[in-house]
């Protein structure tokens, strides 16, 4: 029951956050001094075009650009609540259908990327935690991966595996094989900080007396890591996954552009350069929705991992929000720092 009301509260906060984000996006959009009519007429694409006053007037009327700001806001929110994000300025189709057509490739990329990142980080951390040389080597690799721009990493991967070795295709043809290189590109910088965080947490947990107790029962180190330590180290790791997902969405924009793949990221970048703001806002809002949902989900998963969190947080609703529940203020903040910089974290507070 407690858990249910907690989940309900989180979802409510998530909805509130989304509405706030949409409002912020709308007004930011209207702050721009550029007349959308030019954009709609394709003047933004660099061609020297001839536009007549009649055409301009027709466009302004069609897009409601002559209405007062508040009316436009009302129209925007009203449509948004019905799931309508308006018409693309340049592509002449509804934003929702544009987004719908690009969701699947990004989901595939982000999905495989996340999966790879999880597998890589879990195995790297579990196999090397507490072992000096392997852990040192892995750390150097992780630090390098986390300190290198994503596009550069992708370029090198492309040159090595597609151009030189001809081992993998680089251009999207809808096949799984063509998804591998982009997914690895997106997974490496994501996995690196995840692995660092997990290793640090594992090493911290491995220090705990109950680990020694378990080993004194005759369990192997690997069994102890998997059965005892992993669960404790999971909280900062889960927190990181939440943030990693945000980084992944940013990374998808770069990776999709680099590999010329379809997807929301490329749609976003294209729309930014075409100044197709309804699409930009639509994609950003969708990412925000995904981001908030993932973080809410992560938050719910916490309770499954650690029964103690449920009791602690249920007592203090209102504090902390969907994206930043109080349960994570300690390790979450650290994990976040590491997410941004690609280093491990210290999970002391969550260990015991």
């Amino acid at each position: 029951m407690r858990q249910l009301s907690r989940i309900g509260l989180r979802l409510l906060l998530a909805a509130f956050t989304l509405l706030g984000a949409a409002t912020a996006a709308f007004f930011a959009l209207r702050l721009v001094p550029v007349d959308p009519a030019f954009v709609i007429l394709g003047a933004a694409r660099g061609d020297q075009v001839d536009i007549s006053p009649e055409v301009l007037a027709a466009v302004r009327a069609e897009y409601g650009l002559n209405e007062p700001l508040l009316v436009q806001y009302g129209m925007f929110m009203g449509r948004l609540l019905q799931g309508d994000l308006g018409m693309s300025y340049v592509q002449q189709v509804p934003v929702t259908s544009l987004i719908a057509s690009q969701v699947q490739p990004t989901l595939a990329l982000a999905g495989l990327g996340t999966l790879l990142a999880l597998v890589l980080s879990l195995s790297a951390a579990i196999l090397t935690a507490g072992r000096r040389l392997p852990s040192g080597l892995a750390s150097v690799l992780e630090l390098t991966a986390a300190s290198t721009p994503v596009f550069w990493l992708g370029f090198l991967l492309m040159l090595i595996f597609a151009v030189q070795l001809r081992a993998l295709p680089m251009i999207d043809d809808g096949s799984l094989a063509s998804l591998i290189l982009p997914a690895v590109t997106i997974a490496l910088p994501t996995a690196a900080p995840l692995a660092q965080v997990l290793r640090q947490s594992l090493e911290d947990v491995l220090e705990q007396p109950f680990i020694t107790t378990a080993r004194a029962r005759g369990l192997s180190i690997m069994t102890v890591k998997l059965r005892h330590a992993l669960r404790h180290a999971a909280i900062p790791y889960l927190t990181m996954i939440g943030f990693a997902f945000g980084a992944l969405l940013g990374g998808a924009a770069i990776t999709e552009t680099l590999f010329s793949r379809p997807g929301l990221g490329r749609l976003l970048i294209m729309s930014v350069s075409n100044q197709d703001l309804p699409v930009v806002i639509g994609v950003v809002l969708l990412s925000t929705l995904a981001f908030v949902l993932v973080n809410t989900l992560v938050d719910i998963v916490y309770t499954l991992v650690d029964h103690r969190l449920n009791e602690k947080t249920a007592a203090t609703p209102g504090e902390g929000a969907a994206a930043s529940p109080d349960t994570r203020t300690g390790t979450g903040a650290d994990a976040e720092a590491d997410m941004r910089t690609g280093t491990g974290t210290d999970a002391e507070r969550s260990g015991a």
Partner: protein, 541 residues
């Protein structure tokens, strides 16, 4: 110092004429792989740089026109030398002053949706372009053509003003004839589906990834000089790879059968390579040009404009920024039909003259950084640009370096695209660099004619805001001359005059180079708006 790399001579357009329609230019000896005889079947994967933002070619002259040619046919075929061949129109008449056109259509053409091609159908296309609701910004719309059905297969078109290049304009893919049913009943669908009469039928557009066309089995109306019947290929698949390096890699990995827009830096390598079939076509028109804003300081002074024209080492700039791939050009690219071959008033690199002109214009002091000043004000200008195109950026950086030598500060200002258009509209720039390509001297009117200056209500394409009565007169004469030679004469005079007015600094013509795997054959050129023509292409794997 300039890089002089051995370059393959580009085929002069004039020399190609009818031959070009059947001639498939191939890398030496490579044609053997594809065979000389067309092979039926197979799919051709073509890597393109730009994905259309929307497909409808009638709306604008943007990127859509790069990839719709296989689906749509035009009324006439442009031979690239000022002459035209029949296509959907069997014959046509042009009035003396080039303002009235009569087309006699074929009677055996059907659209992909089964509609029959007749005068009404073509009229629907003209009407669509003229209606402001449809926001057509292309050259055809600018001419406000008024179409009248004479009989089932005869159509008259009256232009608002004479335009001798009208046939070239309507020969381009952005006046590909679309099904009247789609135009009238379902215009919204035009953004992502096309129903034309072409040798290929629209199949699927996966945004961000590919555009697929399949063979039109009933096709029997290829342009004059082609085999006429159905295409050899079963299907064409365009993939869109905007990243230059990625697109080039696709050629190396063999993931694309054909790569269009080989980047300048790899142009020579590709042309020299024995591994690929390749060809290059120098795009006609005004090319890559710096338009100087004549309404603003310092370019309101013709001496300053002339100084920049002569003070920039255009050869050096172009050779280094294009890696020697593209040639320097005058006000028109040499492949433009109206290009004056024996141009007398060519632009000479003369830094002394440039410095002298600047001194005369009063910019004779120097500040601590070595820039010229006048009344304590630095000789300085801004180039807003959209930094996505690396070649543009490199070229501008080279311009900046040369201008500095003259004591002229050129600031590069990366701006988002919308701001770019806003600046264009308001004339808020010192220099606007742009690349314009159309296979006619009429481009000179679009870019330098006073008719096309933005006036607060309209946005015009005359980016230098040049308004010169003498030039205007020459351009008007040219547009009224239905006779190609007469027209070329007027445009030639305009080309002789332009260096004096110096509204712009032309830099390079751009070559459109494609490279294909050796098993690809039969790729031709569409000269109206130069691009590879895939109707007669085949693959022989």
């Amino acid at each position: 110092m300039r890089i002089t790399l051995p370059r393959r001579r580009l085929l002069p357009a004039a020399a190609t004429t009818a031959l070009a329609l059947v001639l498939v230019s191939c890398g030496g000896g490579q044609s053997a792989d594809a065979g000389d005889e067309p092979v039926e079947g197979g799919q051709l994967t073509v890597a393109l740089r730009d994905e259309p933002v929307q497909l409808n070619p009638l709306v604008d002259q943007g990127s859509g026109a790069h990839s719709v040619r296989p689906v749509v046919d035009s009324l006439v075929w442009d031979n690239g030398d000022g002459t035209y061949s029949p296509w959907l129109a069997e014959s046509w008449e042009v009035s003396e002053d080039a303002s009235h056109y009569t087309f006699h259509l074929r009677d055996d053409v059907t659209f992909h949706d089964g509609e029959h091609l007749d005068a009404e159908a073509v009229k629907a296309n003209f009407d669509f372009v003229v209606d402001p609701e449809n926001r057509s910004t292309g050259s055809t719309a600018k001419l406000q053509p008024e179409a009248t059905v004479v009989d089932e297969y005869t159509l008259e078109v009256q232009l608002e003003a004479p335009e001798s290049s009208f046939l070239t304009l309507i020969a381009a893919p952005y006046f590909g004839i679309l099904s009247p049913r789609q135009l009238q009943d379902d215009p919204e669908s035009l953004a992502d589906t096309l129903i034309g009469t072409g040798p290929f039928v629209f199949d699927e557009w996966v945004r961000g990834q590919s555009l697929t066309y399949t063979k039109n089995e009933d096709y029997a109306w290829g342009p004059e000089g082609t085999h006429g019947g159905p295409a050899y290929l079963d299907s064409i698949r365009y993939v869109f790879l905007p990243e230059d390096q990625t697109r080039y890699n696709a050629l190396l990995t063999g993931e694309a059968d054909m790569v269009d827009y080989i980047p300048a830096e790899y142009n020579q390598e590709v042309l020299d390579s024995d591994e690929y079939t390749s060809d290059s076509f120098l795009l006609p028109g005004v090319g890559y040009t710096l338009h100087l804003n004549t309404r603003q300081e310092p370019f309101d002074d013709v001496r300053v404009r002339q100084a920049l024209l002569h003070g920039l080492d255009r050869e050096g700039i172009v050779a280094s920024s294009t890696f020697g791939a593209y040639p320097v050009q005058e006000y028109l690219a040499e492949t433009t039909p109206d290009f004056k071959q024996d141009l007398e008033n060519t632009i000479e690199f003369d830094p002394d003259l440039a410095n002298q002109l600047l001194d005369e214009a009063g910019w004779d002091e120097r500040d601590s950084e070595g820039y010229r000043t006048r009344d304590g004000e630095r000789l300085s200008t801004e180039v807003p640009f959209n930094s996505e195109n690396q070649l543009d950026q490199r070229t501008l950086e080279q311009v900046q370096i040369d201008a500095r030598e003259l004591g002229f500060e050129v600031n590069l200002l990366p701006v988002p695209a919308a701001e770019h258009s806003e600046r264009m509209y308001n004339g808020d720039y010192g220099i606007l660099a742009s690349f314009q390509s159309e296979s006619t001297g009429m481009q000179l009117w679009r870019l330098y004619g006073s008719d096309n200056v933005s006036d607060g209500e309209t946005i015009g394409s005359n980016a230098s805001f040049l308004s010169d009565p003498e030039l205007d007169e020459l351009l008007a004469q040219a547009r009224q001359s239905a006779d190609p030679e007469e027209r070329a004469g007027y445009y030639g005079q305009a080309q002789e005059l332009l260096p004096e007015l110096a509204p712009a600094v032309p830099l390079h013509s751009r070559a459109r180079t494609f490279a294909a795997q050796p098993y690809v054959g039969g790729v031709g050129w569409d000269y109206a708006w130069p691009q590879p023509y895939l109707y007669e292409a085949w693959v022989n794997r």
